[in-house]
Amino acid sequence: MSEIIKQNDEKIMTKITKDLTHHLTTRPLGFKLWIGFLLTFIAVAIWAYGIQFEKGLGVTGMRDYVSWGLYIASFVFFVAVALVGMLISATVGLLKQKWIVPVSRVAEMIALAFVLMAGVIIVVDMGRPDRLLNVFIYGRFQSPIIWDITVVQVYILISFLLLFLPMLPDLAIIRNHMKGDLPKWQWKMYNILSLGWVGTPQQYKILHSTVRVLLILIVPVALGIHTVTSWLSAMTLRAGWDSTIFGPYYVTGAFVAGAGAVAVALYFIRRFYHLEEYITDYHFDKLGQLMVLVALVYLYFNLNEFWVPGFKMKTADAKHLHTLFSLHGEYGVMFYLTQMFGLILPIIFGLFRRFRKPFPMMIIGIALVVGAWFKRVIIIIPTLIHAYLPIQNVPESFHEYDPTGIEITITLGVIAVAVLIVSLLAKFFPVIPIWEIAEEKGVDIERDL
């Protein structure tokens, strides 16, 4: 009897393993072109940064009044998307939702890539990146920037651990079964990274308890990272930023952006790696429901954020609202498009099961991510244009913000690096946890790898 069970287990394992690791062995032309394209763009962006490093930040469109621009908006965007790690793994995972099993690793990959880029783009925005060490030598405990750096670094470590730890059994499987199928260097990599995992009950116990602790820890840390990021704006006295609810406003917005990013990533991974059996319509349905839920909460915060000052129309607030809500305002068109395509329409479409399917979800996901980036632009820049005191005795260009080509190139370049990291991670590591799927299918993984 046990023989039959063991044979059955083996068959299942072999199938699962083959399905989920097949993409590790292939080198399709499409992938090479994609990586090549990303690398080329990144190279151009690095060259553009070289210009900025030499000439100074004056090569961007930022000036003394709009002193923060695309870089800081993108920083907020990166931190926002990075929160998906917490959203999927911890919130949904701790609630024992089974459907996240194939989704959680992709979420962690995205989280790690984007939070790393958050750190990068902050350095890009610095006027004196050569003095980066000053932050660590002279850091002030009272500064929100120091708090931000602390939480970002902690979040990087936790995201890395939550990506790597649950991957150990998978790495062991690959090490054990796929020596012949892989180039030597690649197999060696899995071998080293697997840390000699053999799957003893003791090892599993350590794995489970550590992951559980980290999943609990990541909740306050992730809430912290985006609340502190919101404080970069909310701790100032400016209209449009001086809001008591900026913390939850940012956090809920982050969930929306993250859900969109995961939807996009899942679609393409599923498609290119032929994982339709594992990432099914059911998963997109659930993801869609989650997306609608977080988007509704974000909509609630948006309402508060605009209607409350709108009712009162304090002078400074009125100027800010005019910029956003009037089609004649500098950011009126962008505001309406962003809210419509980045929030309202996704909610409406998401309510219908028809659209909670892979392809529509991917489109909605793209709208959410692009909308999220523009929403951060809308949060950061209009407030800076309208300071309390009039802008006078300066060139015309100081009254508005016109991002330059170099600035846009560098920003897109950093985004490209994030996408590159996700692409490489998804290509060279099993995106769906083999052992967890096996467990689901009843395989006794402790006995058989």
Binding site: L57, M126, P144
Partner: protein, 315 residues
């Protein structure tokens, strides 16, 4: 050319220390460092010791000590609390203050430590001119957010910037509600001699690319008992400056000194945006009984256009 350790030499060293200058090690040990000192064309500098003697020191042996400048700059002047009073009734947009400031601090025309704004509270109230320096707040929002202590408040109330430390994150610009800070977005304006100048934290010269700059209440002038550049340059009697602990402010134009408390009480002095809680150190006297008919001409009075013309005329 050996230097002996004489009482003279010691007092000379102490004297120079007050000005942040230390003599090179060569001066304290006879025989060492001769090579640098014994060039024929080594310029000699005359210095006065504390006991009134004049000594000649080779220029090559004098180093303005960056560290000492920073230390004393961060410390400030004990016992003082500097305040400025701006009489809006007298300002007629002459902007000599802006020009003097930009000259002293090696600023470009669009960079303002002090900016004279044309203010109009309401369509019915007419306009007036309001010079706006840094407020040197007692609850400064800018120093709160700086991640590296590159901007800080010192004991005499002045909020200074250390451009050897600033990392250019521009959080302080975002935090200041008075828009008092500006940034060196590209290579700063080059003034003859900037290459050799040691950075003076109290003057913020030479300017550095990628760092912040702002009004310092001319801390370098205050240290030697002089009024700030803008205060001294004004011809219309707009600025009063002094030490609130002595309850005295001096007018930059007439050099008259008066009691700060009297001036503020009699004229109902106020500060800008007090509800923000920043506790500014700059007081304004209301633009009452303004004597001048303001024929403000946007064309001829445009600061940038004026300075573009100068640059054109020069080239």
């Amino acid at each position: 050319m050996s230097q002996e350790i004489t009482p003279e030499a010691t007092s000379r060293r102490n004297f120079l220390k007050r000005f942040g200058i230390t003599l090179g090690a060569a001066s304290t040990v006879s025989g060492l460092g001769l090579l640098s000192a014994c060039t024929n064309d080594d310029e000699m500098v005359s210095l006065l010791t504390t006991d009134g003697k004049t000594v000649q020191v080779p220029k090559s042996q004098m180093k303005i000590d960056l560290k000492k400048m920073e230390e004393r700059g961060r410390e400030g002047l004990p016992g003082k609390k500097f305040v400025m009073v701006i009489d809006l009734a007298k300002c007629r947009n002459a902007r000599k203050c802006m020009a003097a400031c930009q000259g002293a601090h090696h600023l470009k025309p669009e960079q303002h430590h002090i900016n004279v704004l044309r203010m109009e509270n309401d369509k019915r109230t007419g306009f007036y001119f309001q010079p706006k320096p840094c407020m040197h707040c007692d609850n400064p929002p800018c120093t709160k957010v700086c991640p590296v202590d590159a901007t800080f408040k010192r004991q005499d109330g002045i909020v200074l910037i250390d451009n050897e430390r600033c990392i250019g994150c521009r959080f302080c610009i975002a935090a200041c509600p008075y828009s008092a800070r500006v940034f060196n977005w590209s290579e700063p304006k080059y003034v003859e001699g900037d290459d050799d100048r040691v950075y003076d934290i109290e003057l913020n010269v030479p300017q550095k690319k990628g760092t912040i700059t702002k009004c310092l209440f001319s801390a370098d002038r205050l240290r030697i008992g002089k009024l700030p550049y803008c205060v001294s340059a004004c011809e219309n009697g707009v600025y009063w400056f002094g030490d609130a602990n002595e309850d005295a402010v001096t007018n930059g134009t007439s050099k008259e000194t008066t009691r700060l408390s009297t001036l503020l009480e009699e004229n109902a002095g106020y500060t800008l945006m007090p509800e923000l809680g920043t506790k500014p150190s700059v007081y304004y006297l209301p633009p009452k009984d303004r004597l001048f008919k303001y024929n403000y001409d946007a064309e001829t009075d445009d600061w940038m256009k004026l300075h573009d013309k100068e640059a054109e005329a020069k080239s």
